[in-house]
């Protein structure tokens, strides 16, 4: 038969049917698939289908020198690449006992928070687009681009910065950069009311997002939910504050929470985090000029660098949640094993499956975007 001519097969009458979302689908963040079993509009069961972005990162890393992996790791989560670099660097530094100069630590915080803002703006856009609110995504992505401009000025790359290496950062800030950051922050802050008007106080959006994909705090803890998604259930936990790294201990910021645990609460937590990131960045801009010293500890030549045997678990708070690297060295010039624990490995698979159950077809995409799931973190 001519293959295009699917004839609906005659099956015993049933109200149940299956639907694939993805891998190439606007309602899916990235190259990822989700199978749904539906009864009418109600999802009976959901099943994640990953691996479309699988590159075998962990295997690749075992075949490359410690420093070469710096170019590889940001690719594990494309929308939010800086935490990947920083965490990997932190893991290697921990293994080597390298002391990172203070200025480099501040520079890392600067990048991490810029990256968080960029990722959240991207997520707002994505989340809104799943509900048909395309204007927000156009705005969000255009505003995110200003952050990318900052990254370009700082690191020489828009998306893949490859700027943090074990020992510190590769360069210092270019002249006039902090003013540029400050101006961009001013601009973004002035844009927040626009976003509020358009999205966060939009009645239709609230109708769509409230009570969608809701989980209780107990469920969240049981399911291993982290990051903004966990905070949206009312637990004020942030790795930056509770397992501090870099110089976060010297910074003032709040850990915003929401109680409801639904898509709406998650969006609101992200929105509040945006403000906290602005606040952190303002402090960095204020403090950075007074901190002297080098931006990188002396490291051996990359071609002749054996990292002492050992293992370490480095973790940070990425924009999506808890990100961790488990790195093992056998004393060689290449990692013996690196395990990447991306936050989305929970959110995009099990949590999404559980939340999709009983949800409506209209809301599945929204649940995924409100969890800020990043498939490459799952597939690696």
């Amino acid at each position: 038969m001519r293959p295009e001519n699917y004839q609906a097969q005659s099956h015993p009458p049933s109200n149940e049917y299956e639907l694939f979302i993805g891998p190439n689908h606007p309602g899916i963040e990235g190259n990822y698939a989700f199978k749904l079993k539906l009864h009418g509009d109600v999802v009976l069961a959901g099943k994640a289908d990953g691996g479309y972005l699988h590159r075998g990162f962990e295997k690749l890393m075992e075949g490359r020198l410690w420093i070469q992996n710096i170019a590889l790791v940001p690719r594990i989560c494309v929308p939010d690449p800086v935490p990947m670099e920083v965490t990997y660097s932190m893991a290697v530094e921990d293994l080597c006992g390298l002391e990172v100069p203070e200025r480099a630590q501040w520079l890392r915080v600067l990048q991490l928070e810029l990256s968080r803002i960029a990722a959240h703006l991207f997520t707002f856009g994505g989340h809104a687009a799943t509900t048909g609110m395309y204007t927000t995504s156009y705005w969000g992505i255009a505003d995110r681009d200003l952050i990318l401009d900052l990254f370009e000025a700082l690191t020489g790359g828009r998306v893949y910065h490859i700027f943090n290496i074990p020992g510190g950062t590769r360069r210092d800030v270019p002249p006039g950069f902090l003013e540029q950051v400050s101006q961009t922050l001013d601009y973004l802050e002035s844009r927040l009311p626009d976003y509020d008007n358009l999205l966060f106080t939009n009645q239709v959006f609230i109708t769509r997002a409230k009570d969608v994909g809701a989980m209780t705090q107990e469920q969240a803890l049981e399911w291993g939910v982290t990051g903004p998604n966990l905070r949206a259930t009312g637990l004020a936990f942030d790795v930056r504050r509770d397992d501090p790294y870099l110089v976060y201990e010297q910074l003032e910021f709040d850990v915003p929470t929401e109680a409801a645990g639904d898509a709406w609460a998650r969006a609101m937590v992200r929105r509040a985090e945006l403000k906290q990131s602005f606040r952190i960045l303002r402090q960095v801009i204020e403090r950075l000029p007074s901190i002297g010293g080098p931006v990188r500890a002396p490291i051996p030549n990359p071609l002749a660098w054996n990292v002492p045997a050992g293992e370490t678990y480095a973790r940070v708070e990425s924009s999506k949640g808890e990100l961790a690297y488990y790195a093992v060295s056998n004393g060689g010039d290449k990692p013996y094993r690196v395990h990447v624990r991306g936050p989305s490995s929970m959110h995009a698979v099990q949590v999404l499956e559980w939340l999709a159950e009983g949800a409506r077809l209209e809301d599945v995409a929204q649940i995924m975007f409100s969890l800020d799931a990043c498939p490459p973190e799952v597939d690696r």
């Binding site: 710096i70 370009e152 000025a153 790359g157 893949y160 966060f200 080098p294 990188r296």
Partner: protein, 611 residues
């Protein structure tokens, strides 16, 4: 927590405020690529003038994107460490991480601000690009990501080498350089980028990248194994080698080269001597070939040849005129640079393999060349340069005008001589420094003060001596005068030597680059000295050959004529070392290998006496 005011149900009117954007300008950028930022990582640029083709970029590349391409028109100079290779980038692999830029030892490679390249399937070859200063499409773009001191991943500064201070070393013959400890050696070794320029520049082509790698990986035994593949005089070379490797070192183009010599020394010192013997014996042919080879002279060239040949299963006998083996390294190099026990260790390794050394057996006197020829399948002549050249200036025939080599030999053999209260050394090479510094030590020991004047033809920056030697000689109290040409040794009425007169040198070479010094006779100086030491070069004493053989052999400007493999015009006689090549330890070693390989190859196919 939320700080925005909204009713629980939200607002219908708020979103309509967005309509104000009808009055605002779009944020869209104009069509066409925007200029990239100052540190942008775009397509590659390569400065062909400073690129040395070391291939470090290729090694650091994550993605195996860099192919080294041989460019015939590019400069090639193994001595300076320049290869005619240039990196070509595969943009089907490149990820623009700029590690190649950061690691480039000469800072030749950089990234531009150009970032647009589009092509169809047929034009895909354009993805493979040989970067030059022109950019991807021939239009110049400014540099983006370049090397700066913060991004530089190459460590330009050498690990500091602990040495004796001038005051504590100037009255004794203790070794000056202390050598690296394990940690410093590891750090120094890990500066290496494994480009192999040293290997190319080394006369004996030592596998320096490999043994350096073994050192930073903490496996000094492997390092020794690598060394013994090409150099049985590793203790000697680890201390007194002329280190052409370091001259060629790619790190040295911008910074201080890797201390390859000291690393070799570290590895040799770090491994137990008995273990070294075992390592050296690895790969030895177990079945004797029954061939016998005589080696005249137990210097580096002769013993290296003996080492190689004995490992191939031949029987080797070495004939040494003096009472100890070692040749020039023992009798020409002062102990503070090369302790005798280290030299003894090197020789011990070689003799432990079964090389027989006949001491105090002078060919031409105790044995004749013809007897060697008859008794052995092949003979290696490695007699070195044991006669000092004379300036032949007036007064140079005086008894207190000495040749540096003779004096050094006397010092080593502890033969007594009158230590002069003041002395003048003629010459600007390493031998001049050695004798000046040795005499200085003796003076300090005997009289408590140093009075040595060293005069050289060359200006300071063109001294043939190692700059470190010059520096240390100055520290030890030697007065060094450059651009002074010796004119006469002044002898007083009692026939005692008073000193040396010199004129200032105007130029050393004439227009045809021939040695023809020009002096300014108006600028005459007198240097006081009870002794004048001539250290202006050495020559070989070939009297041992005998008249017949001397007649039979072919000569080339006073030196034995040999082919590429070191074979003379007599099929059974090879010649190696300084007597063929001029003075240099590592050259001698290389020569020894070459001769040994040639002998081994020839003996395998034919009986040399029947040629």
């Amino acid at each position: 927590m939320s700080d925005i005011k909204y009713k629980d149900k939200g607002s219908i009117l708020n979103p309509l405020k967005t309509l104000q954007f009808f009055a605002r300008k779009p944020v869209t950028e104009p069509l066409g690529p925007r200029p990239a930022t100052e540190t942008y990582r775009g397509f590659h640029l390569n400065d062909w003038e400073s690129c040395i083709g070391c291939g470090t970029c290729q090694k650091v590349c994550d993605n195996a994107a860099i192919t080294m391409v041989h460019v015939p028109e590019a400069k090639e100079d193994p001595i300076k460490g320049i290869r005619p290779l240039r990196p070509a980038i595969d943009y089907g692999r490149c990820c623009w991480c700029a590690l190649c830029v950061d690691v480039c030892p000469t800072a030749a490679i950089s990234l531009s601000r150009e970032y647009v390249h589009v092509c169809t399937e047929d034009q895909l070859d354009s993805y493979f690009m040989l970067p030059s200063a022109d950019g991807m499409h021939g239009t110049p773009y400014p540099e983006g990501w370049t090397k700066t001191p913060t991004t530089d991943l190459v460590d330009l500064e050498r690990e500091e080498m602990p040495e004796l201070e001038p005051q504590s070393r100037s009255d004794n013959f203790d070794e000056i350089v202390a050598g690296y400890d394990a940690q410093h050696a590891l750090l120094e070794a890990s500066r290496c980028v494994q480009c192999g320029m040293c290997h190319d520049a080394c006369p004996t082509h030592m596998d320096a990248p490999e043994y350096i790698r073994s050192i930073w990986e903490g496996r000094p035994e492997d390092a020794v194994r690598w060394m013994y593949q090409s150099n049985p005089f590793s203790h000697v070379c680890g201390r007194v080698c002329t280190h052409r490797c370091e001259t060629a070192c790619s790190i040295g183009h911008r910074g201080e080269p890797i201390a390859i010599r000291w690393l070799k020394r570290y590895a040799m010192d770090a491994v137990d001597h008995e273990r070294v013997k075992q390592i050296a014996a690895e790969g030895r042919v177990q079945v004797p070939t029954g061939k016998r080879i005589a080696v005249i002279g137990s210097g580096p060239a002769g013993l290296t040849a003996a080492f190689d040949l004995v490992k191939k299963g031949h029987e080797v006998e070495v004939f040494e005129r003096l009472e100890k083996a070692g040749g020039m390294p023992r009798f020409g190099i002062p102990e503070y640079r090369l302790p005798y026990d280290k030299l003894d260790q090197d020789i011990d390794v070689i003799t432990s393999l079964g090389v027989k050394i006949h001491y105090q057996c002078e060919i031409g006197k105790d044995r004749s060349m013809s007897s060697l020829r008859d008794e052995f399948d092949a003979v290696v002549l490695a007699i070195g340069l044991q006669l000092g050249r004379s300036t032949r200036i007036p007064g140079s025939e005086h008894i207190q005008v000495k040749a540096a080599v003779d004096l050094l030999r006397m010092i080593t053999l502890r033969e007594p001589f009158d230590i002069p209260k003041s002395a003048v050394v003629i010459g600007g090479g390493n031998v001049a420094m050695d004798i000046a510094r040795s005499l200085a030590r003796l003076q300090k020991q005997t009289y408590g003060e140093v009075q040595i004047t060293l005069t050289a033809l060359e200006p300071r920056d063109q001294f043939l001596a190692d700059p470190v030697e010059v520096k240390e000689a100055l520290e030890e109290g030697v007065t060094i005068l450059d651009s002074r040409g010796p004119q006469a040794c002044r002898i007083d009425d009692q026939g005692r030597l008073n000193g040396l007169c010199t004129w200032r040198v105007l130029s050393i070479f004439d227009e045809q680059h021939r040695f023809a010094p020009q002096y300014d006779s108006s600028d005459e100086q007198f240097h006081e000295g009870e002794m004048v030491v001539e250290a202006i070069g050495q020559m070989a004493d070939v009297s041992l050959l005998g008249e017949d053989l001397t007649e039979a052999l072919e000569w080339n400007r006073g030196r034995l004529k040999v082919d590429e493999a070191g074979r003379t015009s007599e099929p059974w006689l090879w010649s190696a070392g300084d007597c063929v090549n001029g003075p240099d330890v590592v050259h001698a070693v290389a020569d020894g290998h070459r001769v040994a390989a040639s002998i081994d190859a020839c003996l395998a196919t034919q009986d040399l006496h029947e040629v």
